[in-house]
């Protein structure tokens, strides 16, 4: 356990995950032959285009945005399913983006993931006990069959399932139960960091709350740190400590959850929040969601949000904005906010 010694200073700093300039490009060109015959250019999709954020120990950091903004790509980059095209991912001070298989192995144990679709994330041919035991066997955490059995029972009890459920197959469970099995599998290797890729988006609203509360309980019990990916703002406001808003592969605003939801600064964030209905019927003026997300293969110049932004001017079309810190503790990437063109905006009443 040499890492345990190295971890000490990292714990003082409290930043477990530091992402710098992270980018991932996909080559979505047509096949070579078509490209030559039809004289088509190479096409590069910038799914994630240089984002920075840091996550401190024990907090829940959420990434929100519309479909196709690159949230899930970030999740897959962090757990090593994709290799970054640029940038670094530092886990407890160590860059894990370029690690080889063997070097990555001890990191994998500590970095686990919960998937979006509970119907696709469990192998239908495997018994639940084998699904949950897979990380135990892969990392050699338990070697005896009695040890595995005991640990699987323990893990299932963490997620409020019975040890006897291990004998069953995934199809015998409901969506919420399956997602709990998925969580049990993710917890099996005693990770410190969980990437949750829309863990509740495939579930009924009533079940969503159960899963979210379970995840909060587990976070408290095991001192977990979450990277939470969602497009559901209500869910995000429920679970998050800090929130990053993504638009077309870039982060437009990062702020503590309370600040972001009560005093959003970036025009895009405000547009997103205005889509949440409120019960108090405040009757305040809302900015309607206008336009569509542009094609990420040919993103707009400058600030990629400018075609949809009511405050955009020529500078927004030319220059890519840089993040600026605001007095409220948020980080906003907007020329308008920097210049004071964008009004402070109404403070949204606490819902």
């Amino acid at each position: 356990m040499p890492e345990a010694v190295e971890n000490k200073p990292a714990e003082n700093v409290k930043t477990v995950m530091q992402v710098k300039g992270l980018a991932r490009y996909f080559d979505v060109s047509p096949p070579l032959l078509n490209r030559i015959l039809e004289r088509l250019p190479k096409q590069i999709l910038k799914a994630v285009d240089g984002i920075d954020f840091e996550i401190t120990k024990g907090e829940t950091f959420s990434l929100v945005g519309e479909s196709g903004c690159g949230k899930s790509t970030v999740a897959r980059l962090i757990v090593g399913l994709y290799r970054p095209s640029a940038g670094s991912i530092e886990f407890e001070g160590r860059d894990i983006s370029g690690l080889s298989r063997a070097e990555m192995a001890p990191m994998r144990r500590r970095l686990q993931m919960i998937f979006q679709d509970p119907y696709a994330s469990l192998n239908p041919r495997w018994r639940v006990r084998d699904i949950v035991a897979e990380p135990l066997r892969a990392f050699g955490l338990e070697t005896t069959s009695s040890g595995i059995e005991r640990r699987v029972g323990e893990l299932l009890s963490y997620v409020k399932l019975a040890a006897a459920d291990g004998e069953k197959y995934p199809h015998e469970f409901s969506g919420g139960q399956r997602q709990r099995i998925s969580i049990a599998r993710a917890l099996a290797s005693k990770p410190d960091f969980l990437v949750c890729d829309e863990p509740t988006s495939a579930l009924d609203v009533s079940v969503q709350a159960q899963i979210l509360n379970l995840m909060k309980d587990l976070q408290r019990e095991f001192g977990l740190t979450y990277l939470f990916i969602s497009h559901n703002l209500a869910v995000v406001s429920h679970v998050s400590d800090r929130v990053g808003v993504m638009y077309l592969g870039r982060l437009v605003e990062v702020a503590p959850a309370s600040t972001l939801f009560r005093a959003p600064r970036h025009p895009y964030t405000r547009m997103l929040l205005d889509t949440i209905p409120d019960l108090s019927m405040s009757g305040r003026d809302r900015m309607p969601v206008s336009g569509e997300v542009p094609n990420p293969i040919t993103p707009p110049s400058g600030c990629t949000f400018h075609p949809r932004c009511p405050f955009a001017n020529d500078r927004c079309k030319r220059e890519i904005p840089l993040p600026i810190e605001t007095p409220h503790g948020s980080r906003v990437t907007c020329h308008g906010v920097e210049e004071g063109r964008v009004p402070e905006g109404p403070v949204i009443p606490n819902r």
Partner: protein, 332 residues
């Protein structure tokens, strides 16, 4: 695989899984899921008289093939029991027939019934072996193609398409000829088995590969594969332990149908004279021999082996069709 539903009696197992599923913790031996599934399949089996008949016929053929030395009245390969004086006898119920030879005898005095029983043994053996070869080859290449993708996939699939553009029997003939040329064996050599198995097996892998490639591509994009990747499971293990069990369903169906095709291919090759030699006749060889005597009036030499082949292939095909429908969730 084929005889399983026939040998398991339908009565008890159909009602069993539902009743016993609830309380017992450890006693659920092998797969409630597969048992439930089997009971579904079993139900559709019991509802189809044609399938039951086909299963019984197939089972009879397989049993006869396995226990040929016990079942057959004579051993047609045992030279000592063959008497040339018995040659070209008509079936027992006809004038000049002999009760020792129910279906008559061939030109060398071998009982047609015995040669059919021993012949279907050879036909089924070659059929099964070549389907196993085609399955292993096709499933392996299909998994590789579907999982790795890219250039590997393109290469394997182009080879498959080229092979598909030739009739299967032509490919088999080609491989058969090449093997015989390379190995320099006499036609009667005991390598005839292996040459047939190889040539039929290699000419039938494409079906398996294309099907498995398709389902592999679907499975590999599912999140349980990514979950295994996050844990750090090696790709080879992911393919074998996660993907393979999920793509085997259609393979079973194709294998059953391909068994009929393989038996038929073997018969065709033997009929064309490049298969089993007359000393170890398969059904195809028997038909070839009988064909020479058809116009001299000794019709039983070709009609009985021909009917046996037709019935066997039809039964296996019907079973395959039923299996395809029974395992297809959209047709349930």
């Amino acid at each position: 695989m084929v005889e399983v539903p026939a040998t398991q009696s339908r009565g008890p197992s159909a009602s069993e899984p539902g009743l016993h599923s609830a309380p017992d913790p450890g006693a659920r031996a092998t797969g409630l899921w597969s048992r439930l599934r089997d009971s579904d399949v079993l139900y559709s089996f019991s509802r189809s008289p044609i399938t039951i008949t086909a299963a019984i016929v197939t089972a009879l053929f397989i049993l006869c093939a396995i226990f040929a030395p016990v079942v057959a009245p004579h051993n047609p390969f045992d030279m000592a029991t063959i008497d040339l004086m018995d040659s070209s006898m008509p079936p027992a119920w006809m004038e000049g027939g002999d009760s020792r030879f129910l279906l008559g005898t061939d030109d060398q005095g071998r009982g047609i019934l015995s040669t059919i029983i021993f012949g279907s043994r050879i036909s089924l053996l070659i059929g099964f072996a070549s389907v196993v070869l085609a399955t292993v080859l096709g499933v392996g290449l299909g998994l590789l193609s579907g999982f790795v993708g890219g250039v590997v996939d393109a290469f394997i699939m182009r080879v498959a398409e080229i092979q598909l553009s030739f009739p299967v029997i032509l490919t088999a003939l080609l491989i058969d000829g090449v093997l015989r040329g390379v190995l320099q064996v006499e036609k009667s050599g005991e390598l005839a088995y292996w040459i047939l198995i190889l040539s039929i097996g290699i000419s039938n892998w494409v079906q398996f590969a294309r099907t498995v490639r398709g389902s592999t591509m679907v499975e590999r994009s599912k999140e349980y594969v990514q979950a295994a990747q996050v844990i750090g499971i090696r790709s080879s293990m992911i393919v074998l332990r996660h993907i393979l069990p999920n793509v085997m369903g259609p393979v079973l169906v194709i294998a059953t149908i391909q068994l009929a095709v393989a038996v038929l291919s073997e018969a065709t090759l033997s009929f064309l004279g490049v298969g089993m030699p007359p000393t170890e006749p398969s059904l195809g060889t028997l038909i070839q021999i009988g064909n020479d005597y058809l116009f001299s009036g000794e019709w039983w030499m070709v009609i009985f082996p021909g009917s046996a082949l037709a019935i066997l292939v039809l039964a296996v095909n019907l079973l395959g069709d039923w299996l395809r429908d029974a395992l297809n969730p959209r047709l349930r």
